[in-house]
């Protein structure tokens, strides 16, 4: 074919139209039919990330909400397993599970002095809303609070309030399982109002954390949900990091479609006095 400006103009226009059609067609297909799951979330699960927030008059007029999730960590086996790395490292994501996901968890083949780089893969992750995993966490948190209070009471005065998270705080969305077969996970977790099957990035625990073999959920592949203009009023009072007295200022329905991509279906603001925990 002889490349001239006429051909180029047609090629450029075709590329523009085709790429937009693929992107918009994919989005339309994701939202077509009955959603794969539909979760009713509150401010405990949807927050405004600092990265997506701009003050009134700022340079980013858009708004996205971050999907906040967590997991029940493995039993603590040493100081290095505490704190930060527990946040994305559930007890069920052990070495066997990681092998199922395609990770090489063997250590014998490593040469001396070789430090394996951090490897991350995209897999399917099951998120459970307000279910057994949340109850487990509540029970553990209540037991920890009681234990801390008892320990404090046993000390000589003056007593200081124990700094433990109250059982009603934080996200009710828990990561409960992962796999490579989305359909199989959906069969196992059939309740579409409680379980969402989403894409997530999972990696081995870094080599400095050899105390426990297993994996870590790095992040959701899509961890923010765009807020369309029509639903913006429901989030007028929400600012990043500010959760008031722990009561949610809105309820929002997030659907996950054919391609497991989320979108905000509905949202409404709640009066301060009636806010849901």
């Amino acid at each position: 074919m002889n490349w001239n400006r006429g051909t180029a103009t047609v090629a450029g226009l075709a590329l523009l139209v085709l790429t937009n059609a693929v992107a918009l067609g994919g989005a339309a297909w994701n939202r077509s039919g009955e959603p794969d799951s539909r979760l009713q979330l509150s401010e405990r699960e949807l927050s405004v990330p600092w990265s997506a927030w701009s003050p009134p008059g700022g340079e980013n007029s858009g708004l996205s909400l971050r999907l906040d999730w967590r997991c029940n960590p493995a039993a603590t086996t040493g100081a290095r397993r505490a704190a930060y790395y527990d946040q994305g490292s559930p007890g069920w994501l052990d070495s066997r599970k990681m092998t199922e996901l395609g990770f090489d968890m063997g250590r014998t083949a490593l040469a001396p002095g070789f430090r394996r780089p951090h490897e991350v893969r995209e897999v399917w992750l099951v998120l459970e809303l307000d279910g057994p995993a949340y109850r487990t966490w509540q029970a553990a948190a209540a037991a920890e609070a009681a234990s801390a209070a008892a320990a404090e009471a046993a000390k000589p005065p003056p007593h200081v309030a124990a700094h433990v998270e109250l059982p009603h705080g934080g996200s009710r969305l828990f990561a409960v399982d992962t796999g490579l077969d989305r359909a199989a996970l959906r069969v196992r977790y059939a309740d579409r109002a409680m379980y969402a099957v989403v894409r997530a990035k999972v990696g081995r625990l870094r080599d400095t954390e050899d105390v426990v073999d297993g994996g870590r959920i790095e992040s959701l592949s899509i961890d923010e949900v765009n807020v369309p203009l029509a639903l913006r009023p429901a989030f007028a009072a929400v600012q990043p990091g500010a959760r008031g007295d722990g009561r949610s200022r809105f309820v929002a329905t997030v659907a996950f479609g054919q391609r497991a991509e989320p979108w905000l279906v509905d949202a409404r603001a709640l009066p301060a006095a009636a806010g849901a925990r």
């Binding site: 400006r5 180029a8 450029g12 992107a23 980013n60 007029s61 001396p112 002095g113 780089p117 497991a260």
Partner: protein, 355 residues
């Protein structure tokens, strides 16, 4: 024959103008030295022919007709490069400033209108702007609008990030670059193509595609492919394009190699870190030296110059690694200077051999 029938591109036209101006200067010197004296008739005919050529080439391609015009052109090239980047950034921030105030259909329509409008503007300027500076500005804005279009659609509809977007961006940049002979857009297209191939390589290695930078070796297949493009696809109609492919191919190969030569942990090779670093140091030195030699043999100045520069970077990085901490600074810089002198001697001898 009219000049526009013998010249296809602005570079060809500029080359012809430069030849005419050189011819006139040399003819004046030869006549002053008494070696030749043209009669008035042939002289006037030659003068008229060249003047006609110069006027036609200037009208058709907006070429520089003297040294001062060339200096100004360099300034215009720099201004258009900076302007193109600034305008692209401006479009990005403009959309971010207002997009939240639009409904979803209006957001999509605005993105599409920006992309189509900027492409139309580029096509129109390509016809009326003989110099190409304004076309370059518009083309860069068109590319930025397309990148913004796809990225924002991803954000508006919460679409899973995909490396396929890089391929679409690369294709669009190539359309703009090859249609209006814009090397800036060629660089943008090659960068997208390198990212796409490297991401795919990383995926085949078991990585999440956005993490391809964790293993610099992921860049190697892309680097080789980029370097070989001018051998497979004829670039002779596009001045400077073959050199751009080759230079970017070399940078894509040797900069990751430089990282691995100093940070062996990032390698796919499950062997001792120091062994990996040593291996890539050797490959870096041998590869840059070989390409310098090959560039000289093939008369590819771009390959020779890039090879020498990369060789020196490898060399000085190792010098720094070995000696910076324990050697007095004046000795360290003296060694660097002596190495430069040694290289000058080697290159002079090499030039004598090849002459």
């Amino acid at each position: 024959m009219l000049p526009h029938m013998t010249t296809a591109t602005r570079a060809d036209a500029q080359s012809r103008v430069d030849d005419i101006l050189s011819f006139r200067r040399e003819l004046a010197r030869v006549e002053a030295e008494g070696a030749l004296r043209l009669d008035d008739g042939p002289r006037a005919a030659l003068q008229r022919h060249h003047d006609t050529l110069l006027a036609a080439l200037h009208a058709g391609f907006d070429v520089d007709r003297d040294t001062r015009a060339k200096q100004l052109s360099l300034g215009m090239r720099i201004a258009s490069l900076v302007g193109a980047l600034a305008l692209a950034a401006s479009v990005f921030f403009l959309f971010h400033n207002f997009w939240g105030e639009f409904s979803t259909p209006a957001q999509v329509a605005t993105l599409l209108a920006f992309a189509l409008g900027s492409f139309g503007l580029t096509a129109w300027l390509g016809r009326v702007d003989a110099s190409g500076y304004f076309t370059k500005l518009a083309a860069m804005v068109a590319f930025a609008c397309f990148v913004l279009d796809i990225a924002m659609l991803g954000q508006i509809f919460d679409i899973t990030p995909s490396d396929k977007a890089l391929l679409a961006w690369a294709a669009y940049a190539f359309v703009l670059a090859y249609t209006w002979e814009l090397r800036l857009l060629l660089v943008a297209g090659i960068a997208c193509l390198v990212a796409f191939i490297s991401a795919r390589t990383g995926t085949w290695g078991g990585l999440y595609w956005l993490d391809f930078g964790q293993h610099p070796e992921n860049f190697f297949p892309a680097a080789i492919a980029i370097f070989l493009v001018p051998r497979v696809v004829d670039q002779s109609r596009f001045p400077g394009f073959a050199a751009t492919w080759r230079v970017l191919g070399m940078l894509t190969l040797f900069l990751p190699m430089l990282v691995l030569a100093n940070w062996g942990d990032a390698s796919y090779l499950a062997v001792d870190r120091q062994l990996v670093e040593g291996l890539y140091q050797v490959l870096g030195f041998a590869g840059t030296a070989a390409l310098t030699w090959w560039g000289t043999r093939r008369d590819w100045k771009d390959v020779t110059n890039t090879g020498v520069t990369l060789f020196l970077i490898f060399l000085y990085t190792k010098f720094f690694d070995w000696w910076w901490d324990w050697m007095p600074k004046y000795v360290f810089f003296l060694v660097l200077g002596l190495v430069a002198v040694l290289l000058l001697v080697v290159f002079r001898r090499l030039r004598g051999v090849l002459a």
